[in-house]
Point group: C2
Chain length 203, copies 2
DNA sequence: TATTGTTTTGACCATCTGGTCAAGATCACG
DNA sequence: CGTGATCTTGACCAGATGGTCAAAACAATA
């Protein structure tokens, strides 16, 4: 039972290492597929030592997920109601794609959780996430009403951004298998997605 | 070790029940997250009885995946080189979305496998899937060259179809949490995706 | 250096899980 | 029926896994 801000230097270092390792292992194998031994080893600790910092496997997972939710929604939060509509939306797409490129493990951790029916997140999805989305949906609807962008369903517009950007992280293996070794999926995706959303949003 | 076409009536019935149950359990919990007891119970059998029909947990999973691969690619195979380009592509999108609606467990099973790095499918992806995609990519390129559709990267066009349609099956929980109870995600998605791809493909 | 609080670990435990096996129940067919 | 083949199951096993604990190692501070 350790309090929120780790007090000592050692605690800070080790909890950090554990979360780092857990992210790696959970994102590849899912919650049940990951073992404490694996995580401990990846963090350079023994299993009992890991359990000195977190009370249970579940606790590590929960900590990871709640930390994730924050950073995960940042790109959407940044969308500015007063900006140039098309620019704002394309910016969101670009930031989200960058997150897929730079934080693929986080993306897969999230995907794993949702795939299993979101047993540990349904609450957050139905409250926090929904509220944030509703907020942005209103903004987008306003833009459409003002004729700044095409009149399309804002919810599904957001879904399409999520689906298209996360696909490159979550299905990375498949994308690379199909494209072959010599291509850079993320570089190409950036161009492609800019084109796609430009066409979609044009009034 | 039982041969391909189950001989007796009972064998046919039970292998069927096992695969059905395994699909349900594997798609929700992933390979390691699923237990033989769970699958056996869902199939209405005892664990040793299940193992009478399949030599191991792995064998059930592999059987499921290889059966899946076939039906999974059918919609893409159906795309006709001699058809009207835009119609063919929109038809593919429609069929793929229907599969997400009608076979969400299959979609999640597949997603789970890819998320874990496709340990049991990398081979098939890099050979069969890649070959099929390359074939269709050539066709699409032809359509673009002939000015029948916009000049966009065919690989990423296909990825975008996969991402957008499978999202509604794999992230169903999230979609419903955000949309609320009273909406029909798949019905709305059909309209939205028709609009999206119509705009994208217009030369 | 002595003392106190923090960190680490080896040994251990209970439970779960994939899988085996021999014996019994059921079925198909002459 | 009767008999051989197919099907089913309870009991069991070995290894893995999440978690505990007491004692040892270490750090910090006086």
């Amino acid at each position: 039972m350790n309090i929120q801000p780790p007090r000592t230097r050692i605690q800070r270092k080790n909890t950090q290492a554990i979360l780092e390792a857990a992210l790696l292992v959970f994102s590849r194998h899912g919650f049940r597929g990951a073992t404490l031994d694996q995580i401990a080893a990846a963090a350079g600790l023994s299993k009992p030592n890991l359990l000195y910092y977190f009370p249970s496997k579940e606790a590590v997972h929960v900590t990871l997920l709640s930390q994730l939710m924050d950073t995960w929604l940042d790109p959407l939060r940044e969308m500015d109601p007063d900006g140039e509509p098309v620019e704002e939306l394309l910016g969101y797409v670009r930031r989200k794609l960058q997150m897929s490129r730079d934080f693929p493990r986080e993306s897969r951790l999230f995907a794993n959780e949702i795939l299993q029916g979101a047993p540990r997140m349904q609450e957050v999805l139905a409250t926090d996430l929904r509220k944030l989305v509703d907020e942005k949906v209103t903004i987008i609807r306003g833009w459409a009403a003002a004729g700044k962008i095409a009149d399309i369903d804002p919810h599904h517009l957001i879904f399409s951004i999520w689906a298209l950007t996360q696909h490159y992280a979550d299905f990375d293996v498949q994308v690379r298998a199909v494209l072959g070794e010599d291509r850079d999926p993320f570089a190409e995706a950036e161009t492609f997605l800019r084109t796609l959303f430009t066409k979609l949003l044009r009034p």
